[in-house]
Amino acid sequence: MAPAAKRKRADGRIWVWLSGASLLLILAMMAIIGFLVCANSFQVLWPSRLDLVALADGSVFLGFPMNGDISPEGLPRTRYKVGNREINSGADFRWIYEQDVVKRNHPQEALVVNRMENGDFYGFLKRRTGGRNESATESPEEFRESLVDFQRRWNSLAEPPRRRLAALGDAWQENHLAFLKAEYEMRRALTPDAAEMWKANLERSIEREEAVKTESERAMSLFNAIRDEFQAETAVFATADGTEISFPLSALADVSSPNDMGWTAKAWRFAVNVWNILSQYPREANTDGGLFPALLGTVALVFLMAVTSFPLGVAAGVYLREYARDGILSRSARVAVNNLAGVPSIVYGIFGLGFFVYGMGGSIDRLLYPERVAAGISTYGGGGIIWSSLTLGLLTLPVVIVATEEALATVPSEIRHGSLALGATRFQTLCRVVLPMASPGILTGFILAMARAAGEVAPLMLTGAVKSAHSLPLDGEWPFVHVERKFMHLGFHIYDMGFQSPNVEASKPLVYLTALILLILVFVLNFAAIGLRKRMREKYAMRGF
């Protein structure tokens, strides 16, 4: 062996290199994930240029170039998003061989029309008909303003009957439950008086059902009348090859002309898109629209989980470290807790389903709502955000317990003795000195556990997350927090859009975007943990020890 090589091995430089390389590898992978997610999300949000492509066979189309590669035959090709689903027989995307392309340009007046159904339409505006000021010569910008104006008018008129209909639906639901209860109680009433009372209730609810029904029909016909009236306002567009197609304005969500935008316009558009994604409801089986319910569901879930698992975990950790005698019992408890941290999350899901949903939820239903159980309606026993958050809480509990124990162990015994020697009880010492000193460690561990829980999906699928929920776990309706409701969740949303959707390809960018939001949520939690730890460390710094 050459002496130089020998020396190298002797001073272990190779290990330094190897460990550095593994760190580099990890960093590179993180960078790739980050880049992939950000780039793809950016593609959804940033208004990019719309190509008008003329092909060798004489056909033309409008579309967004997505990505390119070399086909198996060795020819360069580009994948275009071409929209116009009903014209292009359902396909959103199309591969184009570069050799077939005769010409590409970017007409200023090309429009991207985001529709309530059927995804995007790319084309040119021809005219607007049926409105009070119909026009054959509107510019894209003017058309956008007309559309906004139309939507304002439509919302102000259609919103009241729509809200009325929703309220009537709720009233019907409520009345139906009252009906079930009256019917159930009447059959099992012990005294004739009680039977009489429930019978009266039953008749009242039947009457009320009739009233609600007629009222609903009235509201419905009112709504339909308004809709029909607005339906008359349409816009006629032409596709790239000149085929004319007309849509009622009420079917359009948004229009934009990306080829006619400067940087500021594009940036503004970007901001609007971000806001829409965050604030709107999903459309078309989650392949379009926003993520609001999923975002709210995730935040509410993590919050509920925190509320349950934090006090429980800290209390258990405190007991184990401060009060439990070191014996076979406390040691096996510790082993159990550590093992619990390694249990796969789907197992927690199964436990949550069996214990929380069927066990606890089912019992609550049988106890409080026997009539609904008899009618096959579940309230608590069919999965809900409370059971999901309890399951997640259980999943994070070991982490919180271990973090608490470790943080408590770092508090020097001299400090405890100092407090005890001044006549403090153990509990006072714990509350006033030990816990504040341990709090940075406890909180850091807890927030990291929360970040992990925010991204957990498997247990939720079994205990209450759904692909689309008709109501939110938090809303303006008493009691504001509806813990028994099913909910949507970002992680589950990714799974649903990416793998269960009827149009996976169309929702792919949205999958990346959802992933990005989930990542941001986790990052925010982690940074909060770091910031909190720093602040607490400063406050309870142990300098001088």
Partner: protein, 258 residues
């Protein structure tokens, strides 16, 4: 002073006190009286049980698993080890300063009034007054009066120890136990603490454990010599240092062991 050994002058009396850490016996038949208002030094080689005896006085040994004490130990005639005795109350009457300064990671003010707060004192003025009085007694007031709200962790080691003394003084104990209070400090801080002890005795009974013979000679009125868990000799400091009554004492004082 030498003569008045009556119950009035003795604040602590131990008689035939045995102490066990589980199987291991650490104190053997200790019998001693500690006089009110004086400074008493405990000396002896390492591991001879000085700290153990000190911790018997405020029952800090309760915190050790398997600790067992037999014999009689009284404070003002009250049995310290009686189950009826309130340990909290006892520790308020018998304060303690540790070898390693152990201020809480709180503000200077909160450190000083800690003992009062946990005793349920809420009154602002009382707390403020106690804070100032205690810091003055601990000769720390002038140095910290402008930054009472700042973290105590920013003080020096010597200041930390004086803060701990102030913290002990704040609850107005009858006795202050000090277990090698200067062993982690530099000479100047040591001098300060020694001056402080001379200041405090009279108002408080002081018991100080030390390995520094000069220190014992300088600050204490009486000295107790422990050896292998037994009390070897007890007496007026000057007398014990100049004419020790026992061989072991003389050997220890002349540095032949320990």
């Amino acid at each position: 002073m030498e003569n008045g050994d009556g119950p009035d002058t003795l604040i602590v009396e131990a008689e035939n006190l045995d102490f066990h850490y589980g199987e291991k016996q650490a104190l053997f038949g200790i019998g001693v009286g500690i006089r009110r208002g004086l400074a008493t030094a405990f000396i002896g080689p390492s591991g001879c049980g000085k700290s153990t005896f000190l911790r018997c006085l405020n029952r800090m040994n309760d915190l050790v698993d398997g600790a067992r004490v037999t014999g009689r130990l009284t404070l003002d005639g009250e049995d310290v080890n009686s189950p009826e005795l309130d340990v909290i109350e006892l520790r308020r009457r018998v304060g303690m300063v540790f070898q390693k300064p152990n201020p809480f990671p709180k503000s200077i003010y909160e450190n000083v009034v800690y003992g009062l707060r946990i005793a349920g004192v809420r009154d602002r003025e009382r707390l403020d007054a106690a804070c100032e009085r205690s810091l003055r007694r601990a000769a720390l007031w002038e140095e910290v009066k402008d930054r009472l709200r700042e973290s105590a962790m920013g003080l020096s080691g010597g200041q930390h120890q004086r803060l701990c003394i102030a913290r002990a003084v704040a609850v107005r104990p009858e006795i202050i136990l000090m277990d090698e209070p200067c062993s982690a400090l530099d000479p100047r801080s040591t001098t300060k603490i020694e001056e402080l002890i001379t200041e405090l005795k009279g108002d408080y009974t002081i018991v100080i454990v030390t390995h520094n013979m000069q220190q014992a000679a300088r600050v204490s009125d009486r000295t107790v010599f422990f050896y292998e868990g037994k009390l070897m000799e007890e007496g007026e400091t000057r007398r014990l240092f100049t004419s020790p009554g026992r061989r072991e004492t003389e050997d220890y004082l002349t540095g032949r062991f320990g």
